[in-house]
Symmetry: C2
Subunit: 289 residues, 2 copies
Amino acid sequence: MALLSALTPVLVAVLCLVIGLMFVKSKSSEVKAQEKPKDFRPWVDQDLQDNTDVIERDDDDVEDYNEEKDLAHVPYSPPRYPVEAMVKRSQDFYSLMNQRRTVRFISPEPVPREVIDNVIHTAGTAPSGAHTEPWTFVVVSDPETKHQIRLIVEEEEEVNYRQRMGDKWVNDLARLKTNWIKEYLDVAPYLVLIFKQTYGILPNEKKKTHYYNEISVCISCGILLAALQNVGLVTVTSTPLNCGPQLRLLLKRPANEKLLMLLPVGYPASDATVPDLKRKHLDDIRVHI
Amino acid sequence: MALLSALTPVLVAVLCLVIGLMFVKSKSSEVKAQEKPKDFRPWVDQDLQDNTDVIERDDDDVEDYNEEKDLAHVPYSPPRYPVEAMVKRSQDFYSLMNQRRTVRFISPEPVPREVIDNVIHTAGTAPSGAHTEPWTFVVVSDPETKHQIRLIVEEEEEVNYRQRMGDKWVNDLARLKTNWIKEYLDVAPYLVLIFKQTYGILPNEKKKTHYYNEISVCISCGILLAALQNVGLVTVTSTPLNCGPQLRLLLKRPANEKLLMLLPVGYPASDATVPDLKRKHLDDIRVHI
């Protein structure tokens, strides 16, 4: 009894330590649990993580072409237009681009492959961080692959719509269908899937960070849209984010590539319509100082 | 003594609790310390945080124009070119865009304001998430403001270069200067600062989230680069991230706008040079399925 009494402080101390350790452990697992988003799907969500926005202080400028340092410089003298021609060209290009619209009604008519190649070649002239050219354009014309893409996109879209609409709409399938069905993914002669390369592989097989890969690929996409408009083709600029990993595997793209955009491309259908949207006036988007 | 002996377990328990609490507290303050980046500058770094990459599952598609739902649809029939003309147009546009280069040697010669306005008007034809048109183009031609911008950019660049180069270069000012000096910010007739509007203001003064604002503005920037190239002007596609908050205040832009890009615009200098870079071949950027 005396021995037990002498040991009591020790026992209490051990007990407190055990309780203390459990407390600390439960705290840290709580933190881990918070990090997981609702409906965590390891395969899908982890794949979506990339380091696009991890900007190192010493690399925060697209113009900082490290690889240029050892390159020879060559004279650059592009064509120069007289002022009048310049003004006219700027007006004409505005008029052409201002006719562009997002069009969901795409004709199944074939489009010359050469035109699509030239459009993508044009997109590849975009500037990029450290001239990494971190883009891959996957052009799908195979009907079976297009259909697989449609199934993947529609499955994700269905999840999106059901979650968005809430329980009261779940049974209203007819109404929902009009929203998540993407017929143009079967119909358009081409689907252009634009991947950003989040990193590159160095000759020594180490990873090479592609800073600004998303910004660079989006700029490239802007030039691609201009090139499509220039030849009279239409598209829908869509970003099917949650389908990226599945589409990447379907198209056998490597792990460093993430799907950024999916553009169905073709002529507009003869009965195509667009919502009667207006664009902002110049004075509402431009400030002069 | 018996009382003390009886109290010993209690004292030990209290002691353990105190130690346990101190341990938990030090853990959590450790976590907080880790969250702060090195050289934390509350004003600058907090301002840089935005919600561009916080994508809600129910809004993950640029093509999802909520505001279109109540809009009338109108027929859309853009010009259609015969196949031969289409191929020719795609080739010509590729040739024109393939001449584009990032040019740091910009001529001080004046450029017609009308051309710059048309170029920005063209950039404003880009698609955007929910047709929010989340861009503001600040065109600076005032010499004093250009110089202020240069001072802000160079100050940040100096920090960047010093941190990058490490202590052994700190005294080598002459060499460093060649890197962080941006003369073109004084010289170019126009500086175009492209802001993304990270959210909008609803009529009831609540915030309206602008999903995909960064992607949309980058696409717009791609179209802007195409428009500049079309009129024979050059630029440097730069993203001076750390200067954003200071430049935003200098230019009196509201808090919902974040600087995304800074483009000095003008004719190339007569002795302009560019690094002798090559672009990837079409087969290295395009996959056909």
